[in-house]
Subunit: 314 residues, 4 copies
Amino acid sequence: MSTIDYQYILTSIHDRMVHGAGPTAEDISSGHVAAYIPELASVEPDQFGMSLQCLDGSVHSAGHADVAFSVQSIAKVPALLLALTIDPDEVWERMDVEPSGNAFNSLFQLEYEQGIPRNPLINAGALVVCDILISALKRPLEELYAFVHALSGDPSISWNERVAQSERAASHRNAALVNLMKAFGNIHNEPDEVLDLYVRLCAMEMTCTQLACTFGLLANEGRTLHDGKALAPPVMVQRVNAVMQTCGFYDEAGEFAFRVGLPGKSGVGGGIVAIHPRYYSVAVWSPRLNERGNSHLGMRALELLTADIGHTIF
Amino acid sequence: MSTIDYQYILTSIHDRMVHGAGPTAEDISSGHVAAYIPELASVEPDQFGMSLQCLDGSVHSAGHADVAFSVQSIAKVPALLLALTIDPDEVWERMDVEPSGNAFNSLFQLEYEQGIPRNPLINAGALVVCDILISALKRPLEELYAFVHALSGDPSISWNERVAQSERAASHRNAALVNLMKAFGNIHNEPDEVLDLYVRLCAMEMTCTQLACTFGLLANEGRTLHDGKALAPPVMVQRVNAVMQTCGFYDEAGEFAFRVGLPGKSGVGGGIVAIHPRYYSVAVWSPRLNERGNSHLGMRALELLTADIGHTIF
Amino acid sequence: MSTIDYQYILTSIHDRMVHGAGPTAEDISSGHVAAYIPELASVEPDQFGMSLQCLDGSVHSAGHADVAFSVQSIAKVPALLLALTIDPDEVWERMDVEPSGNAFNSLFQLEYEQGIPRNPLINAGALVVCDILISALKRPLEELYAFVHALSGDPSISWNERVAQSERAASHRNAALVNLMKAFGNIHNEPDEVLDLYVRLCAMEMTCTQLACTFGLLANEGRTLHDGKALAPPVMVQRVNAVMQTCGFYDEAGEFAFRVGLPGKSGVGGGIVAIHPRYYSVAVWSPRLNERGNSHLGMRALELLTADIGHTIF
Amino acid sequence: MSTIDYQYILTSIHDRMVHGAGPTAEDISSGHVAAYIPELASVEPDQFGMSLQCLDGSVHSAGHADVAFSVQSIAKVPALLLALTIDPDEVWERMDVEPSGNAFNSLFQLEYEQGIPRNPLINAGALVVCDILISALKRPLEELYAFVHALSGDPSISWNERVAQSERAASHRNAALVNLMKAFGNIHNEPDEVLDLYVRLCAMEMTCTQLACTFGLLANEGRTLHDGKALAPPVMVQRVNAVMQTCGFYDEAGEFAFRVGLPGKSGVGGGIVAIHPRYYSVAVWSPRLNERGNSHLGMRALELLTADIGHTIF
């Protein structure tokens, strides 16, 4: 794969997405922007950005790769990584690693399984991860963002407080989840405190370039792309990739494995990140979502990417 | 990975499994043999075999690698491959590719999703695959086994009719599944005819050596290991591997991805097959099952295998 | 209530239903006839009949009270009464008496509760009742109809074999239910045999006049209206009435208790029977069904009946 | 029924319950007191009281009929009556009248039915009733208790603030319910405000004598027993009785209809009230609960009551 012209492929995908050119042209106006809070609803919908970063340090990008957006559920992965560096046993005792087979915020399955989230990437699991961080850290919010700065090499990454406030005011379903888990004994801190951290986690803002770099260690056996520091052991990286593969796309995880063939994670802000272990980390962003809540163009772009490269993990 | 001594690793795993030697020794008497039909219940439980076959043609084995056993649900994969070579559109219109998040034969999810199986590897999906084969083929049973002979290069592979009869007599839950799908219009032939083919599919018998070879094309971009014939296009192979990864282990698919890190498929007879694309195909067999219905030692052996090799798809 | 002019009330309800006269006039063309088998689909839809029979032997009727129709699920009640006269312990060990809170033929709840039907009036429960009759009786079908003849005093009551055959050919969902219960051990005979009896039970045909008389013993402490014979002890009658009250209307049992205030049972053929213990038995029939599968005009007619009489069991 | 010696029957039931005398003697030490808050857990368990009040004003009692206890869910009925006198349309638009077929506080069904409670007597329904009272009343808590005083003729009835505080601190599952309904738009006020009223409703304390009198209007076509004032129209009374019949006992509503044959409502404090319309109101209390959360002796006592009287609504 050393002779692949990644930049050519990204530019070609960008053209097919944005200009509707070529045999696999896409309609950029398909799908709808997330509308449950005004800050997301008001995003200019017809944007598309992509950034791919190889282990050799090369960075390839196309379109709005340097426009910041709300990463939302994608931020659950760095939170999980931080919790795993603190206490992996605690994490895997309090949640499972199985795909959920239902929507991302279903109370049904959580009730059926007595307050144990199916995996760390559904809302219930990420709420428990936040609860673990609150118990373990003196200043959870600051230390969480410090960890993201270490992953990305970029201390400017932060959260949008207005998004966080809007999400907080609209987070009745997450409040239901956290209270149900509290009733089962799987939340140790106050529900309000957990929700406060959770919304500031999901309100994280990054560009595609920042996002691909932040996730780079998952392609690089635990070493960051920007300074090569080992922030996670290889076995932890393999396991987080495995969890993303089986659980990273709400009720479209199987479809993503089937069509794209890489582990990854999506967010309702229209971002998707995917990993080809030992090769590259790639981030794509386009705000319009398909029916299952994943970026319409983002899914298509990644499908074209692995088809053009001719190589998936499978 | 060219310098890996696979034979040494297999022998070492065998010793830890069977003789309980070494730091990761296992108790071969853990778990219970499937007991829902007498033919499976009467299998000598304390057996363990393993066969690993590389793309270069080398074959490595340990233990009872040449004892034939009932492959059961593992046979759903060749049936799926055959249906996909006939009409992939038909297959993916009549079933989904999402993990099920419930036990392998749950009626609940099937009812909730109006007769569309979550994926082709749960019983409901495999029953629809059988229905497709019956509609498309003149002599479905014979042509199905002829396809397995082409995959494996071994025309001696057949089914155990006594096992098939016992399963047929005990298959009330599968009868419930097929009738429910018939009520939803997703079974086109007679329920009895579908069940007749299904039980003869699941009663397929192979040794670990045969099984690893039969699945070899999934490691080899669609070419058989024994004669290099292209029996499936590479993209179909990638997709079948992806489906095995997310759906191949009932409610333990996430756990298998997490611990082993390879796509694979298990059967209630105690067999498991796993694929490292572009490297090897491996089959393991031990009749005692864990709580989730997968071979206890088989799961452990594959976990040790990728740990010893130090390499998964993630 | 001795001075109530029942005939006047029935005639008045009939006029409001059929001629659309008066302040509570109904549109007789609302709703749809059951269409899952041709024999039901071809019924002339705009018919309405009603028969009310008091303990003193008086019979009041209106409209098509003497047109025979397919009683369908209403027949589950005489089958239950017969099984209770044979072995009440067997009945209540193999099913519960709780409302189902789901559609009448849901597999979900049956699976969740391990093959034990919620009550004898959902399909699963009636299938177990048939299984009990098959185990206990030499000639189940003949003895079942002989029991109905004893209840009604009318030996001409029979079933429509064409309806039974059509139901049998279309009964995939019931086949799913009976096979699922067989898998759980709660069906003792062959699934086919149970389905054969069940469809001939549901294909029973009666007029409103016959139906009100057949159910008369439930208003009369167990004594038939036509010859005063005690065919069931009073406590059994109270319990069957209680079961009809909480479970007799699929997912509209609460609504029927709320609006009509009497125990009763409906069928997909458009019939409904209701009981005012110690006062009267009433049968109504009109083929068009509401969204929940109960007769649209039948529900309205019974609501008007108890409103006009000014008296319910509550 | 005019010649029935109610006092004799109550005394006889009391003896069989407390002294274990006679052929239907009960073991007063069966079952467990509710333990989820300390105030309930510390109740002396081996108490039993009963009060039956006829329409003619006669009051019959036995045992600890004048010991106050926490009525808990029984208080949902007066709250419903008050909401119905304010705006019945609002009530029945925001909840259904169907039995739930699941435990009293299930989130599953609430999620499946998009935030519409199955009925007003499960926790979700009572929370919506509280929300309606908050929207409609200036001083909801005071006006609610004033209504109870009017029903009972006893202005001393109040709530136990320590119980309310304990319930509030332990009410994570109710917080989950109210937040889920808020997410669906079926809660109009703040979740905390609704929970505050709800716990003070459930912390209501009464004796059996007070309770039987408070519910007397439901036996008396809407007129109170103590002063004959019409506080509810007869049709509303019939409907509330119907709802109690189908929904008053969590997942034991069918069993209660089957064994006792009267509409009623139970509470986790060990109280049960039942109504024989046009005859009497009866309250019974004993703190030990059966497996389904209803008073063990209370259920038995009411079963003996209607068996001894020989008369149910069925």
